[in-house]
């Protein structure tokens, strides 16, 4: 229960950050995405089931808050896939080096924009050039934010772990 509340608060805080404090901050036109970093952190800390569920909830709320017509559900789809993929990959991540986690967060950010772009392309709401460029820029912007967001969420996930499980190195 406490874990649910904490993860819910992470989503709300992430959305507030994105829409107010970070709203004016762009890297050559691309916006950073705090939520996808949080999804990666939860998936790395708690595995594919929680990663996918957290991703779905975060994406759906973000879609409801920011979405225009014909795009609600896209982030939910993308974050679910990313949460699951990262959670499934974590068994292969044996190194506790910071760069591994940084690279993972950046790769997930890139995948998130490219996947969303791909889905929105179906509705003719984005262009290939924009998606390709924005994916790279958003990943770069997220690299800067990851050291701030990622350890915090990892720690919250570890601290609210329901049963005595193997606590991985944050």
């Amino acid at each position: 229960m406490r874990r649910l509340l904490v993860l819910g608060a992470v989503i709300v805080a992430g959305l507030l950050l994105e829409s107010t404090v970070l709203a004016a901050w762009r890297l050559a036109g691309a916006r950073p995405d705090v939520l996808v970093i949080a999804v990666v952190a939860v998936a790395m800390g708690a595995g594919p089931v929680e990663g996918a569920s957290f991703g779905f909830c975060a994406g759906l709320i973000a879609d409801l808050l920011f979405g225009q017509s014909q795009s609600v559900g896209v982030s939910a789809l993308v974050y679910t896939a990313i949460g699951f993929a990262v959670g499934a990959l974590r068994t292969y991540v044996t190194s506790s080096g910071a760069w591994v986690h940084l690279a993972l967060a950046a790769a997930a950010s890139l995948a998130s924009v490219w996947l969303a772009g791909l889905v929105l392309r179906v509705f003719d709401q984005s262009s290939w050039g924009y998606v390709a460029r924005t994916g790279l820029l958003a990943a770069a912007a997220n690299l800067l934010l990851t050291p701030l967001v990622y350890p915090l969420v990892r720690r919250l996930v570890a601290r609210t772990a329901p049963a005595p499980t193997t606590v991985m190195f944050p």
Binding site: V12, A23, P48, F66
Partner: protein
């Protein structure tokens, strides 16, 4: 944990199906469906929070650049620094208020020019997504705002209302790919549609092939019967014209919007049009070059 991969895979499939269902429902039902209703609920829930955070963050926009300086300061001038900082922050608040005042005046001037009844509002949040271009404003249906109404700032049209709750509304900006506004060229009255093109800004699509359009032409809104848009609101200036080719019959016209869509903070929502549709009484024809808009542009540009 990964001990139960089947359960995990089942959940993944379930959540992906749920996402696709939401996308489908939203796509089919549009503004009236359950998804749009949920959107209104979330905008209403987050509105007050965003407003609170914005109110704290707005006057201290330069906070992050200040951190570096503070780090270098010695302990013995801490008191002085604090004093200076306080003065600076007051100055920023003051500048912010002056700028806001100027923009409000400009916005009022713009509204007065079209003779419409407007409701003023502040931008409390912007979209955090790379694929949506929208803002949340702190006025909603309780002040007469409804979906589809045009939104102006001191420089021109910025977009239209897309979601409304009692106290807040979401505005889809002109550069959102989902945005489309009926428009015409001020010089030749050639009709067309202004569409959002995300990274490329705005595009004017002439209705008729062979429409005479040149760089520097003004593009204004086109009023039509039954429409919510008054005629003659300035949208932008033609920046580039790529002639019609094999791919399309009409030229590709790129617009530079008058309003700076990335930094808007004070807006006016047009809630009703003048009685005599689309033609103000006086000799003041829809002429975008007229005084207030341009004056406000230079004033707010200088104030920042």
């Amino acid at each position: 944990m990964y001990a139960r991969p089947r359960r995990a895979r089942m959940l993944l499939v379930l959540l992906l199906l749920a996402s696709i269902t939401v996308i489908t429902i939203d796509f089919r039902e549009g503004q009236s469906g359950p998804v749009a209703q949920l959107q209104r609920v979330s905008v209403a829930a987050f509105g007050p929070l965003q407003r609170g955070v914005s109110a704290v963050v707005r006057p201290v926009g330069a906070f992050f650049s200040g951190i570096g300086q503070i780090g270098r300061l010695r302990a013995d001038n801490r008191r002085l620094t604090a004093e200076v900082e306080q003065l600076q922050s007051e100055e920023r608040t003051y500048q912010d208020a002056i700028g806001e005042n100027q923009r409000l005046r400009g916005t009022l001037g713009m509204a007065a020019r079209c003779g419409c009844k407007t409701v003023g509002a502040l931008v409390v949040a912007r979209s955090g997504s790379n694929f949506q271009w929208s803002v949340t404003i702190d006025a909603g249906s309780s002040r007469g705002i409804a979906s589809g109404m045009p939104v102006l700032d001191a420089d021109g049209l910025v977009g239209r209302v897309s979601q409304v709750t009692a106290g807040y509304a979401t505005v889809t900006l002109l550069d959102d790919p989902a945005s489309g506004v009926a428009a015409s060229l001020a010089r030749t009255k050639g009709p067309g549609i202004v569409k959002g093109a995300a990274e490329a800004g705005l595009q004017f699509e002439p209705v008729q092939a062979g429409t005479d359009v040149r760089p520097g032409d003004e593009v204004v809104t086109r009023g039509y019967q039954g429409g919510v848009f008054p005629a003659g609101l300035p949208i932008g200036m033609v920046a580039r014209v790529d002639p019609a080719g094999a791919a399309s019959l009409v030229p590709t016209v790129t617009l530079r919007p008058y309003a700076n869509l990335g930094t808007i903070d004070v807006v006016a929502v047009v809630v009703s049009q003048p009685k005599a549709p689309s033609r103000p009484r006086s000799g003041q024809r829809p002429q975008p070059q007229a005084g207030p808009a341009m004056a406000a542009t230079s004033a707010s540009g200088g104030g920042r």
